[in-house]
Amino acid sequence: MQDPRIRLASAALISVAAFISIWGALAVFLWWLLFTPRMRRVKNIRVITGMLLLIGVIAVLIWISGGDGLSYFLRFGVIVLVGTWLYTEQKPGEFLAVSVWAGKNRWGFELGMIGECAMQIAELLLCDYARIRIAMKLKGENWGVRTLVPFCLILIHDALMRADEIAELLAVRGYRNGGVCCPVFCIGPLDRVSGICAICVFFFSIVPVSEFFILSM
């Protein structure tokens, strides 16, 4: 999907659809199979597997405590897949372009820049994750509860340090608020079709399933 406006709007709609109901989640999964490159462009498959495993563990706990663990797993698993697709498709500058298109050069620019910074930090977190893994391997350390806490705190610390540096850099360059950006969008051949299908999936999830069928006794 080339147009980031349709991509972001579709992702928002289908995420809500997947969250609302299990039928919505299944419809979103079908949409994901049809309109995305699936896992082909995913750089770090381990992170996705880890997230799905974590959701699986929580789902089992919900199931043990008497809740609907399967529904939880399906709905949140599909949301993770949608998030992964959105993240891998995202190119630098797109978030800013969409925000300026939607909110103009003042608030749109601000929001877009915050989004771009967040995307950059997310990218760097993956690099930090990789280098801490190397450092641990070099020391002969194994994964465990003892290493998990400092691991996460170091990641947070590095992210905060970078945010601080970016803020200082912006201040040094005289940034106060807003900016000028003239976004240009390119609509791919399947963009409109997948966008319309995402709207359909959303409505399908909010309308009760029984409404689609004539149920007679």
Binding site: I132, I134, A135, L138, K139, E141, P150, D158
Partner: protein, 232 residues
């Protein structure tokens, strides 16, 4: 004990580096411009970067350590005492050898880049490794610290030590010289013969060679000796 690079090719985007050669026991200096691929080569030699072609064979090497350019990349704990414990070292000794004025509870991430580099190098050099790969060990250090580090590196009398650097002023005693030039790692040989082949030799060394006073090595003492030609 040796590490063999057999038609090793490391590639990233449009950039690539070809490396062939055998690193035997002793101190090796791999010189190259910024962006020539020294860090990637170090990662590949340590087994943390998958080459697009060729192999890295480590023979008789039981213990390996890679020191990356950025010391913060090695931090895995939240206090200096815990960080030293993760290296299986006593923090009081490390604080002393790194000349830090902090206690064990201080966060290593609160140190300045230079202090953190000293701390990291002290942890690395406190233990013996069969293969020690040090990537840009002189970055973030002042001249006094660079000389101190050179003395410590020169004192390593066993195992393979490979120093990847673009440093041009202060060096330890080096046995073998390598150079990355035009996307290829070239073995220039042993000292002092290798010096005449060195494309990126420091200006002072080049001048001495031109004057026919080739230094025996790259240590400050050897350079001074060549410059003055004071024979005892």
């Amino acid at each position: 004990m040796k590490i063999v690079l057999d038609h090793l090719q490391v590639q990233q985007g449009g950039w690539s580096l070809l490396a062939n050669g055998t690193f035997e026991e002793g101190i090796h200096l791999v010189s190259g411009a910024v962006g020539s691929g020294k860090s990637t080569l170090a990662l590949a030699m340590a087994g943390f970067f998958t080459p697009s072609q060729g192999t890295v064979t480590r023979e008789g090497i039981k213990t390996l350590m890679l020191s990356t350019q950025f010391p913060e990349f090695h931090i895995t704990r939240l206090s200096i005492a815990e960080e030293c414990a993760s290296w299986e070292l006593d923090y009081t000794e490390i604080i002393q050898s790194a000349r830090l004025k902090v206690d064990g509870n201080a966060s290593p991430l609160s140190l300045s880049r230079g202090e953190l580099k000293r701390f990291h190098l002290s942890c690395i050099l406190a233990r013996e490794y069969d293969l020690l790969l040090v990537d840009e060990p002189f970055s973030s250090l002042d001249c006094i610290e660079k000389e101190r580090l050179c003395r410590e590196l020169s004192a390593r009398d066993s195992g393979i030590t490979i120093i990847f650097t673009h440093e041009q002023s202060i060096f330890p005693h080096v046995d073998h010289l390598w150079e990355i030039d035009a996307g290829e790692l070239c073995a220039l040989g042993r000292f002092p013969e290798a010096l005449t082949q060195w494309q990126r030799a420091p200006a002072l060394v080049k001048k001495l060679i031109d004057l026919g006073r080739c230094p025996a090595n790259l240590t400050p003492e050897a350079i001074r000796e060549a410059a003055c030609r004071i024979h005892e």
